[in-house]
Symmetry: C2
Subunit: 308 residues, 2 copies
């Protein structure tokens, strides 16, 4: 049986990725911080869970003499806003932990490393679907730190032969996500508020967290012997479309309105060309946006009800 270590396995994406790896027959060990929110690590496919900081010593102690085939890093920074509020923390989460993981694997001489990165490394590039070779021009500390983490991975692949895959996730959403646009919008809509910042025409590539998890698992279980990068997106949709569909899914007779102000720091368009993952891995996302938003709304109403 193959074995995987998932860093950040208690997180929104990490727990789904852990389960996707377990479903592929891997024994999964989880490491990181986090609140299991009423569920247990075993519910998410973890054979073992270790709470702790991610560092070289922790990893060496966790793994011991075991053979590990895959290390999946889902413990990096996860929010643009937090990277402004506490940039050094975001740096450590995204960059320092990645360097420690790569060094652990270099010294062992075994194991593929997969980094959950972000479309934030691209920044604003106008009216195109981004490919993995598009210019990177991040627009936040979060994006800069993801870029730096990728580059340290590139360096370890190039100079030490570490097998490194990167997945640049676009707008990941799904049940359990208690931050970012959908969470904030659902809360506002439930209060009867319909006014939102922006133009409503901001175009994003939305991907349900279950599809993000199957992509991460596919990249993790497909060694490349080099540094390879995959975009992870699914459906192009504007903020106006998404929030309109969300309001319907919440069964609210509301139409979101936008104040028309474009934000600097908020690209007008951030959409992916995902043909590389489809061709190379045979990966196919399966959760349609309307279905995903319905699932999100159903979960939100339950969470909202139990919080009230």
């Amino acid at each position: 049986m193959s074995r995987a270590v998932v860093l950040g396995a208690a997180g929104f994406i990490g727990r789904r990725a852990a389960r996707a790896l377990a479903q592929r027959g891997l024994e999964v060990i989880g490491l990181g911080h986090g609140d299991w929110a009423g569920s247990a690590p075993a519910d998410w496919g973890l054979a073992r869970w270790q709470a702790g900081d991610i560092g070289l010593e922790t990893l060496d102690a966790l793994v011991g003499d075991a053979d590990v085939d895959v290390y999946l890093h889902c413990a990096g920074g996860s929010a643009v806003g937090a990277s402004y509020a506490a940039p050094l923390t975001d740096f450590h989460r995204s960059v320092s932990t990645t360097a420690a993981l790569l060094e652990h694997v270099r010294r062992r001489g075994r194991g593929r490393v997969v980094l959950a990165s972000s479309a934030a490394v691209y920044g604003d590039q106008g009216d195109v679907d981004l490919t993995e070779t598009s210019v990177r021009s991040p627009m936040s500390p979060y994006g800069f730190h993801k870029q730096a983490a990728e580059q340290v991975g590139d360096s370890y692949a190039r100079f030490f032969g570490v097998d490194v895959g990167v997945v640049r996730l676009f707008s990941v959403y799904g049940e359990g996500l208690r931050k970012q646009l959908l969470w904030d919008a659902a809360n506002k809509l439930m209060r009867g508020e319909t006014g939102f910042f922006g133009t409503g025409h901001e175009l994003r590539d939305w991907i349900h967290v279950d599809d993000a998890a199957t992509l991460l698992a596919a990249v993790a279980t497909t060694p490349s012997g080099r540094f390879d990068v995959y975009n992870g997106g699914h459906v192009h949709a504007s903020t106006r479309q998404v929030l309109g569909t969300l309001a319907q899914a919440l069964d609210l007779p509301l139409v979101p309105a936008f104040n028309g102000e474009a934000h600097s720091g908020n690209p007008r368009r951030l959409t992916a060309d995902c043909s590389h993952a489809r061709r190379q891995l045979g990966w196919t996302p399966t959760v349609a946006l309307a279905d995903g938003l319905r699932r999100y709304a159903r979960w939100f109403l339950q969470a909202h009800g139990s919080a009230a």
Copy 2:
């Protein structure tokens, strides 16, 4: 009186930069590790020297309530070879310490940060003099880590208004340097060995450490209010020229010979266009290559004599 903190003030470049700042009238506090090799911190212009690791807590404790105008970071990785032998150590020296310094300055809301970076961020770009806007394509872990450190600086400048200058030093040499090409070559030549790796036609931009120090001091004392980058080089010369001149300066009747093998990882040409520093700062390097090599040879013969 203005005040400066020099990180890595005991190092080959750091001590000269500290002295150059002191000569400009700044009170200089040094932090880092290192062997003062028979001299004292005060000999190099330091009002105070604190031995220790560089981190957020150390910096906060060192600076206390004092006003600091300039932080000069000369404590990063200093050798390509070491970055292959111990990449995580090189990462911490170049990248983690830079992130900690930038965060310290962000929280204080005061002070210019100057990073001693390297031409290694450029990599091999063919037959041109590199400008500060040339593509970066590092060819070693050392170069990747310098690039990542610069990018974290760019991020703190862009999103938090920290005043950040970067100096990309080319081939810095001078009295006291006990590693790299000149040290190895001088030792070989003294043993009567004349065979060297490479073609001898590798072109580099040689700059004496005294000129590197005046450039660092000029950048440190010229706030820009943004992220600005300066190349630091002086004289284009081939390895054949430099080692031939070194043999003469050592008074050895030897002519270096080359095995003709080009190394991957060793750019054929790495030369600087330094017009930005000359124009913007009025900086002028003053140590001619032949004079610098004579000074190096004189120091080497004394060091060699006292070691024998």
